[in-house]
Symmetry: C2
Subunit: 291 residues, 2 copies
């Protein structure tokens, strides 16, 4: 496309019009390009620039052929416009941080409220209000939001996994349990890969919901199992411990079973339509493994 | 790699061992493959499956050569394990929704609190508390969170843009303003593209923060400008109106100036090192545009 020699009269590389066709048009040679791509109408270049900038009026644009950055000048502005420009820029820069602050504030405030509700749930509605009214406000603003944080952190301690691992390591020594848990004593055909059994991954949503619902569950279990305990606090703590222990035992059992299921999985032969000799031999193999 | 004829003795396509090398090993032919890729050790296939499943023990795996899905069987489980499996699955499925509920609840509760704070700010601390105590709790739980929602929706109405557009459309008829705003009467060298001037985009963080800070600003402006008004509510409303009008006028002025700046931008010639004839002519053009 590019021609070396400059043609006798200017012509615009956007609209292909020559100097003679529009005597009033303003011409510009904005880059290092020579020859037939040297000249362009100011108006054509402006349109092309608009397209390249895509709404970002401050963006730089370069010549696609020689790479020279076009030098764009703007009329000078008054002090008020300059001031408004600076204010606009400062607000644009500050607003993401302010929005982040709003989000943090929202989470914090909800954590405070959750903490207060939990205190009332654990020690009883009236006593909880009394305790919080007598406490130092600063202590409340620091202490109450740590309640949900502690619950989530506590929920992240997966002690059942350690128990399962310990069990698996010392299963040969724990012969007394073999009667209790089916398939415990048998030697395993294979060791399943870590994490392939029983959803070993830490789910964020499950941890969060489990942690937040725990005080209510502890309260409920306490009311069901320890009706004779009169103190609200003691009853909820006992209920919480009972729930954690019961859930832990079920989880350890479940994980151990999942482990055994994975350890005893078996891949079947592809069923052969014709009763071939080798196929039949392998079929009998499958039967023995399916016992 | 694949050989058509089945070799005289089985050999595993993973570990290349033959039947003679390990008489005890279990063999399996899990897919439609024939020839030398027909047989594999059960143990080798299990290892290969673990690698392909990457911890997802329920995932299906197919033969990379013939595409047959391997049929994996698991030992049968008791009713308790089945029940626990169902509970685990139900919890995993429900937890994202529960977590979404927690997020919605957090936002809702913060909106209620923000609404209550705003009511106290606008009508005064003591009177605000009185009003809210006397109101129906259901009405408060529905009404208070709509306050921030309304503020954000109100902030999203960009009336200044309409005023600017109206102004630009009828600028020739508004000759009286030409003295007030510099560069208004002149005919523009070009029409800037929509959205290229003055941050026309709707920033989420700026809209949110602007909306949430508005009652405080209205209160402050009311206290500064309308000290003689005794009613807290009236003073804050007057302050809010004054702030919106002042900000609107500045914004319209700023946008109009940004429009003019973009309309009057000019692209300069590339400076020529030697004083060539055509270069000089264009240089003089630049000077006239920089006035």
């Amino acid at each position: 496309m590019a021609c070396e020699d400059e043609p006798p009269e200017k012509h615009c590389w956007v609209c292909f019009a020559t100097e003679k066709e529009d005597r009033a048009a303003e011409w510009v040679s904005p880059c290092r390009c020579k020859g037939c791509t040297k000249w362009i109408h100011q108006a054509c270049l402006q349109r092309w620039l608009d397209e390249k900038q895509k709404g970002n009026s401050g963006g730089t644009v370069s010549c696609p052929q020689c790479g020279t950055e076009y030098s764009i000048v703007f009329p000078k502005t008054g002090p008020l416009v300059y001031f408004l420009q600076q204010v606009d820029r400062a607000l644009s820069r500050a607003s993401p941080f302010a929005a982040a602050g709003v989000v943090v504030g929202t989470v914090y405030w909800s954590a405070v409220t959750y903490g207060a509700v939990t205190v009332m749930q654990v020690v009883g509605h009236k006593k909880g209000l009394d305790v919080m009214e007598r406490a130092d406000p600063l202590f409340l603003l620091m202490g109450l939001p740590t309640i949900p944080v502690m619950l989530v952190l506590g929920k992240m301690i997966r002690w059942e996994d350690y128990v399962v691992r310990l069990w698996q390591r010392h299963s040969s020594k724990l012969q007394i349990f073999n009667g209790l848990v089916p398939g415990m004593g048998r030697s395993l055909p294979r060791i399943p890969v870590e994490g392939s059994y029983g959803g070993d991954h830490l789910s964020v949503s499950r941890t969060l919901c489990g942690a937040l619902v725990f005080p209510s569950v502890a309260n409920l279990v306490g009311r069901l199992l320890f009706r004779r305990v009169t103190s609200n606090l003691q009853r909820t703590i006992l209920g919480g411990i009972a729930f954690v222990v019961m859930k832990g035992v079920l989880k350890v059992y479940f994980k151990q079973q999942q482990y055994l299921i994975q350890a005893n999985r078996h891949i079947l032969n592809f069923p052969l339509p014709e009763g071939r000799a080798d196929g039949n031999i392998e079929d009998s193999n499958d039967d023995s493994s399916n016992e």
